[in-house]
Amino acid sequence: MIEVNERIEVPSAPRTVWSVLSDPHEVVGCVPGAALGAEQEDGSFDATLTVKFGPAKVAFRARVALELDPAAMSGRVLARGKDDKGGTRIRSNLTFRVEERAEPAGSVVPIEAQVEIGGKLASLVEGGAALVVKRMTREFTERLAARCAAAAA
């Protein structure tokens, strides 16, 4: 189990950040290697995610469900996926909240996530997977900030 516990700082107003984070298309655009597919009847989405564990690339097919609370500007993202090569499973449960930051003006987004990787790859990637997730989180932060800046402009 990989635990993510981050506070992302974004130099944009909370409403702007929320507008990006509450739009599945926008959010997926912030995740490196991810692409959004069709929306299902229950409101969840198909998605694909390609992750590099070391030099090895793994392509996951995932189902992503978003639960949003616009009043509290918080949400939960549930994702389950597997790949068709080596039988690797991934399951992630992520919660976030958009808060106002006073100095300098902007937003803080606390993110908590549990990512589970199972199957054959699990033993192969060992501790490396946690660092890969960390790196993805960092890139997510950068992309989110860029998208918020674009949305505000």
């Binding site: 590099k52 070391g54 030099p55 090569k85 080596g86 054959k120 790859l121 060992e126």
Partner: protein
């Protein structure tokens, strides 16, 4: 004639010339008889498991049956790890083991050797009666050869002492039972394989040790040129066929990043004498777009991930590749594939690892040790690489072809490669060779250095000494745990080697390593270089596995 005398004569008739082990009262009479018969050299070792390990090295180097021997009970139980290692290596071995007397079930050294052998994945043949003496030996050698595995021939002490009646009958060795034919490919299977290969734009040929054993080299190179294929090897065939300018080294975790990038576009993998296990194809992730053609002499092989090749051709590797190439030639098939100047440019620097690490004081960069050895030790010298963390340097960075290049790996254990290297050197007529292994590995069977000295085995042991259980050290570090828990200091192993009567040097920098290697090359003999390497330098595989680095 006593049964043990017949058994000894039968071993000789099987063509045995060397054996490794320790004498005890349950194999003593048999050994004494072999000595009397002459022509079989007994190498007395310091641990039965190491003796079996040497027989394993013999088998891996020559593909002929290696022979080990132990007394009953405690002599046998020492064989566990070596049996398992040999079983995973598919090494043909016969271990002649004494067994406690059948008429004394309270015997101090009693052991249920059949159950022990089963647990160790070894074949088992018991000498139940005096009349079994011929059948038992023949069966043990037959099993070892045909099933390519270690076999325990268990001979109860009392049965050995009984009279063998038919001593005027000549013994028929196992070779009289074994057909010499190679497996020919099924034409239909070969046609299917040719269809797949002819439809591929970017093929890769992966050769394993089966291809090497069958002498498929030239045929593989021809097929690679015709199909535009890259040539890669399994770890077990490391450096083989590297004269090909589109050789990409090992496929798997010990591969280069350049190779892995190229494999992403591979649409057809032709596996030759390679099991295609999880390490070679990284559970299938290494070749995401490929269809597989597999040529192997076994009836069938299931690849990693529980999948079958898209076309499996049961054939001797050479016969299979030649057949495939002929079919493609008949179709006038030619493909440029990967064989372009651009790919050759990419491959030029594929083994370079420029990442800088600050070195611990008084130590040398382990990569520098390998570079120096690669440069200074002539290619006429065979190479054995050990297991554990430091294999991550040697299994990638040694790239020159040598008469034998045998990596460790089997059963994932440490300590087994030093005996195997000794056995392989003995098997190849005491030709000088080099073993590069970690400190924990070498310390495990250090006593066998004395065996090396006693028999003047010209093996250079280069200890990649990080004074740690390296794998655990790096794993603990990656998990933010106390990595010092995996550190263990060693004495100066150069001095230890000298105390054992051999030669030895302590090396703390590249020049020390170069000078010590030159000393050995000038006069090969039993020698150990204790190369103190810096723990700060992390192997490429660990950077990938533990830190997710794309290097």
């Amino acid at each position: 004639m006593k049964v043990y005398q017949r058994l000894a004569a039968n071993f000789k008739a099987e063509g045995v010339t060397h054996m490794f082990g320790i004498m005890g009262d349950a194999n003593m009479y048999w050994m004494h008889e072999l000595d009397k018969l002459g022509g079989v050299k007994m190498l007395e070792v310091r641990h039965e498991g190491a003796g079996l390990g040497m027989a394993d090295g013999w088998a891996r180097a020559t593909r002929s049956v290696g022979v080990a021997t132990t007394t009953c009970g405690p002599g046998v139980s020492q064989l566990a790890t070596a049996f398992l290692t040999a079983s995973r290596a598919e090494s043909p071995i016969v271990a002649f083991c004494g067994e406690h007397p059948t008429n004394d079930q309270e015997y101090n050294q009693r052991l249920d050797q059949a159950r022990f052998a089963a647990g160790c994945e070894a074949g088992f043949v018991r000498l139940n009666t005096p009349d079994d003496a011929d059948d038992a030996v023949r069966k043990a050698f037959y099993m070892a050869r045909m099933e390519s595995r270690p076999v325990m021939l268990s001979a109860p002490m009392d049965v050995q002492q009984k009279t063998f009646e038919d001593d005027d009958e000549p013994y028929k060795p196992s070779s009289t039972l074994i057909p010499p034919r190679a497996v020919r490919p099924d034409p239909e299977a070969l046609r299917q394989a040719a269809d797949i290969v002819a439809g591929a734009k970017q093929p890769v040929i992966i050769v394993g040790r089966g291809a090497r054993w069958s002498g498929a080299g030239e045929a593989v190179l021809r097929l690679a040129k015709r199909t535009g294929a890259l040539v890669a090897t399994t770890l077990m065939a490391k450096t083989w066929l590297s004269e090909d300018e589109y050789h990409v080294g090992v496929a798997g975790t010990y591969g280069t990043r350049t190779a892995m990038r190229l494999f992403e576009e591979t649409d057809c993998v032709i596996a030759v004498g390679a099991s295609m296990n999880r390490y070679t194809i990284e559970h299938g992730y290494l070749f995401p777009k490929a269809r597989y053609v597999q040529i192997d002499s076994k009836p069938h092989v299931v690849m990693a991930g529980g999948r079958s090749a898209d076309c499996y051709v049961q054939a001797d590797a050479r016969a299979g590749v030649e057949g495939l190439d002929t079919l493609l030639e008949e179709r006038s098939f030619r493909n440029v594939g990967y064989r372009t100047p651009d790919v050759r440019k990419q491959l030029a620097g594929q083994y370079e690892d420029r990442k800088e690490f600050p070195l611990d004081p008084g130590t040398v960069d382990p990569r520098e040790v390998i570079r120096v050895l690669e440069e200074t030790v002539p290619t006429s010298i065979s190479l054995f690489t050990g297991s554990g963390a430091t294999a991550g340097f040697s299994n990638i960075m040694f790239t020159r072809q040598r008469p034998l290049v045998l990596p460790s790996h089997f059963f994932g254990c440490i300590g087994q490669m030093m005996p195997a290297a000794m056995g392989a050197v003995v098997a190849t007529g005491n030709k000088p060779a080099m073993l590069v292994d970690g400190d924990a590995s070498v310390m495990m069977h250090l006593a066998e250095f004395e065996t090396m000295v006693r028999y003047d085995v010209p093996l250079l042991i280069v200890v990649m000494n990080n004074e740690a259980l390296g794998s655990e050290y790096y794993k603990l570090h990656a998990h933010d745990m106390k990595s010092e828990l995996a550190t263990i200091p060693t004495p100066d192993l150069g001095a230890v080697a000298r105390a054992f009567g051999g030669r030895g040097r302590l090396a703390r920098n590249a020049e020390d390593v170069r000078a010590a290697a030159a000393e050995w090359i000038a006069k090969p003999g039993p020698m150990m270089i204790d190369a103190r390497i810096s723990r700060s330098v992390v192997t490429l595989p660990y950077r990938r596995i533990h830190y997710g680095e794309d290097e």
